[in-house]
């Protein structure tokens, strides 16, 4: 009777893990907090660039405010329990793309001598470096090894990991 019960429990765990493959794509509270902090920082830097060069860095301002606001939103949602990373990723990729073009433009203007100030290109480059770092952290941070396997192998890996971890747990419980 107890063997039957154990077998049905194992089967339920396996089913649970095969459905739980999206766990590969979730974030934890620490990552959500980092995303929130990055969003606030991005807004602050965007306002700073607009303050040091009023009327010039409009695209950077809009990108910083929109991207930072969305990052802050994903961070807050992450802290509240919405654990998917895809929103933050799809915000950070265009932010990085726009900031690269803005950084190239800013350094170009600086090197042609139209502007003497190093502050604007430096600020935009700092925003870019922070956003690239955050993008890579959201993309790679806290991923299990199965994430880097191709599709079918990933699902099988996740399943076998689930089996192993739960049989280990069962062993510990029986002890």
């Amino acid at each position: 009777m107890s063997g039957k019960l154990q077998a049905s429990r194992n089967e339920r765990d396996v089913n649970c893990f095969s459905k739980a493959t999206p766990l590969l794509h979730t974030m934890n509270s620490k990552m959500a907090l980092y995303i929130l902090t990055h969003g606030v920082g991005l807004i602050a830097f965007a306002l700073l660039t607009h303050r040091v060069t009023p009327g010039i860095a409009w695209v950077t301002l809009i990108t910083g405010l929109a991207g930072g606001g969305l990052c802050a939103l994903w961070g807050v949602l992450g802290l509240l329990g919405h654990r998917r990373r895809i929103g933050a990723l799809l915000t950070l990729i265009p932010v990085c793309l726009v900031l690269i073009t803005q950084a190239v433009s800013a350094w170009m203007v600086r090197s042609t001598g139209k502007s003497e100030s190093l502050l604007l290109p430096t600020l935009i480059t700092l925003m870019l470096v922070a956003s690239v770092g955050m993008l890579m952290y959201v993309l790679h941070g806290n991923r299990p090894p199965e994430f880097y396997l191709p599709g079918t192998a990933r699902r099988e890996g996740s399943l076998s990991r689930g089996k192993d971890s739960h049989s280990d747990a069962g062993r510990h419980q029986s002890k």
Binding site: I100, V109, S111, K114
Partner: protein
């Protein structure tokens, strides 16, 4: 010509975004791509004003060499050749198109 340009930029941005999901670039590779893009294109568009087309081709070739070096250094064991190359070319296309049509460059 303008609708074609917009459509091509939309396609390029999609390629860039899809690249992140298909081959998951590591930090070193992506950081090198971003920094070399900034350095090379700001130099090309600042100093190559007289011979713009030649400067763009030279910049693209230099970037291609950088991408291949970065690919073989950090990515060759993990991903195929085509997705990184497509993402890289799409990124360069968006940057060059943006800079080529910017008012400072006119």
């Amino acid at each position: 010509m303008r609708p074609l340009k917009i459509a091509s930029v939309v396609a390029a941005v999609h390629l860039i975004v899809l690249g992140f999901f298909f081959f998951k670039p590591p930090l070193n590779y992506f950081a090198v791509m971003c920094l070399s893009t900034i350095v090379v294109w700001s130099a090309v568009f600042s100093f190559g004003k007289g011979r713009k087309r030649a400067a763009i081709i030279a910049g693209l070739l230099f970037q291609l060499v950088t991408q291949q070096v970065a690919y073989h250094a950090w990515l060759s064991g993990q991903a195929g050749v085509w997705w990184p190359l497509a993402q890289f070319l799409a990124l360069q296309y968006v940057i060059v198109l943006h800079l080529g049509s910017s008012p400072e460059d006119a």
